[in-house]
Structures are given as C-alpha cells and as structure tokens.
C-alpha cells in the first residue's frame, strides 16, 4: 500500500544520504551541517527525479 511505499522511499533515501552526508562517526548526534545536508539531499534527489521524468516526457 501507500504507507509502505513511503517507508521504502525513506529507507532508500536515508541509506543514500547517510553515506554522503555523515562522513565520520564521532558521536551519536547530528551536527547542524549534517542535518542540513540530509534535508538538501532528499530535496535535490526529488528535484532531479522530477526533472528526469519531465525530460523523458519531452523526448517522446
């Protein structure tokens, strides 16, 4: 269902953005910089996704 789809997306984005935005583990908290990067990461990924979909549509 739809709730499960959202959860799978959150799993995928967390996996991807954690790798890029949290380079080192020095404590259990997120720094402001890491948190901002995670927010940007998911939003830029969704922007990219929308742009690709639109680009593919305009090719057809």
């Amino acid at each position: 269902n739809s709730k499960q789809k959202v959860q799978m997306s959150v799993h995928q984005f967390t996996n991807m953005c954690f790798k890029q935005c949290v380079p080192a583990i020095n404590n259990g908290d997120l720094s402001t910089h890491e948190e901002q990067c995670l927010n940007n990461c998911v939003n830029r990924f969704l922007d990219t996704n929308i742009r690709i979909v639109k680009g593919l549509q305009s090719l057809q």
């Binding site: 910089h33 830029r44 922007d47 593919l56």
Partner: protein, 52 residues
C-alpha cells in the same frame, strides 16, 4: 520505464550533485539525461549484436 527513470535519477544525481547539495544543477542533469539515453542506445545495439 520506472526502472529507467530510477537508474537515470540515481546516476545523474551521483554525477551532478555533491554533498552538501546546496544547488539543483539543472543544466548538468539535462546533459546527463541526454548522455544516458545515448549510452543506453549504444549499449543496446552492442548487446543485441552480440547475442544474435
């Protein structure tokens, strides 16, 4: 086509954007999409030629 959209999004996100992801890089994403589609065609022809 979902598979294609997902793979292009992942590849072009990886090639065009870098941490901390401040800007959208739309020009790069458009060029990357064009390059990816051209690559898909090259690979497709090479693979079909090979398995025939």
């Amino acid at each position: 086509v979902t598979e294609l959209v997902n793979k292009i999004t992942e590849n072009c996100f990886e090639k065009c954007l870098t941490s901390p992801y401040a800007n959208a890089q739309e020009g790069c994403v458009d060029q990357c999409l064009a390059k990816y589609m051209r690559s898909w065609n090259v690979i497709s022809k090479a693979y079909v030629a090979r398995i025939q």
